[in-house]
Symmetry: none
Amino acid sequence: MKQKSRSLPFDLHGLEIFLSVCDAGGMAAAAQELGITQPAVSFAIADLERRTGAALFDRKVRPLALTLTGSLMRQRASSLLADARQIPPMLRQVKLGKVALIRVGLVDSLSRAATVPLSNYLAEHAEEVSILSGLTAAHASELLTRRLDLFLGVDDLEETSGLERWEIMREPYVLLLSRSERRPRAVEDLIELAKSRPFIRFSARSRTGLEIERHLRRLGVEAAQSFEYDSPFAVAAMVASGRGFAISTPLCVAEAKFTNKELVTWPLPGPIVTRKLSVVARFRELGKIPRDVAEVAKSAFAPDLLKN
Amino acid sequence: MKQKSRSLPFDLHGLEIFLSVCDAGGMAAAAQELGITQPAVSFAIADLERRTGAALFDRKVRPLALTLTGSLMRQRASSLLADARQIPPMLRQVKLGKVALIRVGLVDSLSRAATVPLSNYLAEHAEEVSILSGLTAAHASELLTRRLDLFLGVDDLEETSGLERWEIMREPYVLLLSRSERRPRAVEDLIELAKSRPFIRFSARSRTGLEIERHLRRLGVEAAQSFEYDSPFAVAAMVASGRGFAISTPLCVAEAKFTNKELVTWPLPGPIVTRKLSVVARFRELGKIPRDVAEVAKSAFAPDLLKN
DNA sequence: CTGCCTGTATAAACTTTTTTTATATGTACT
DNA sequence: AGTACATATAAAAAAAGTTTATACAGGCAG
């Protein structure tokens, strides 16, 4: 049973060659650009096509044209390589300690509730305060590369050494529907819903988005068409406009400031899944600030939750 | 001269092994999980460390621990692989029928007004729609690296070749004060205000923030303490809470959904400065979509502006 | 339609990288 | 200190990728 199946049908090197061919407009030209021979390129492309099982180029036509699949591959490959190329410089940066400037990452779903109290607290500890919104995934790496000193966001399950964490709260994932939709009570209802209505989802770049995806896969829910957003407001707005359904959390919904007239939330059928929001900082670099920030955040949205 | 310099110090296979080691908690365990031998894993990790020039694991300690650099690598590698794994299913989908993915960057200040109409328009042209909020500066580079297909944001002054632009609108920068503050009519009043009250500003990472900074320097305004944010809501919220004053634009204020009771806007003393919002895309890759999107955006917030 | 030019595919030999078997070295725990 | 468990190293085997040489196909001129 020693199936030699790599989990992936390509590697970065193959994708680089593929993109070279796209950019150079031909295999011979790409070969020259890359400093390898033309057959090597030819082989790499053939290999990529064989392993993905998709025709990437249309050989029937002379100035080598991308197929539809090929264009998609170009899009994705290009973005993947752009990501990959950012990694080495980041790794190098990591190798490089009262604070004048405190830079804080704030996950979008806490933005509305926490911005002002957080600023008020931090104003006592720093001349300059910089609060940046966005996705936790981005914040986490910026923390490690020292572009942020602290962030409030979805806690990573895995314990990373060199960081300290202070829990703010936990909240369940909930189903978000437009007013007219009826409540799915069982997993089967949810599967049915997903077949008939588009799924409005959080970007897979966000930690929350990834967890929702994973959970849906576990439940066996498969979405038809899908729309993807990285801001809680956008997700809620789409659902409110009747475009489809979403999975979100109470805080994300509160952030978007929609009323119960436009949106309804229901418990998610199946097992209960929650997300944990925490304050994360580099270990012991900021003294008691991280713990205090967690306290501030906790009290900041405590009233909010009571309202819902 | 045959320098075998790959442009990247790792490939996906190496990263998979690295992540297995992280997850399994050891090289031997990872080897078993992957169905290869322990030395193969050992070698792959050593190779990864040698090529990236970074120590990923701390061998001095028994249950093999990640270094700080290692944690970052784990995060990035994990997200890179998650991206990579999404590609093959996508390719298959294309073969099955019409599937296109359109990825759009949307500057925060247009988020509220444009998300829904934009999605509605794009739904007719693609199976999947991905709308990512954030800063224009980030979007511009993602457009060039093909991680976005289109963005709506503050237009760069410099003409980058290979891009097409469609103007959506122009809007002036305005002064944002809390209700209790009196209106500064001359530049001198503004300079005085900046001395007595903290300046709430947009992050210098955002194009808007940079332009505001530049303008203030030209006017000779110097701020005492400063708070910095990258979301329009946060800036407005701070001003509304009486923490200080800000410079913003009508759309940014609308985005934050504050009422006239909490905030007042006044024309900026001194020369009039405006910002231009545009749709930007790679030249001719999307046919008429960019122009249409500009039209959709234009009509989307036209009513908004009339309200103010 | 035919033959030439340009550019891609294929074949066999060769080089490099990766994996394996075997064994040494190291860390933690008693 | 000794033992158990885990990682590192060495040399051989296997696999992958690259090169040279050559065959094949599409586009274009006559």
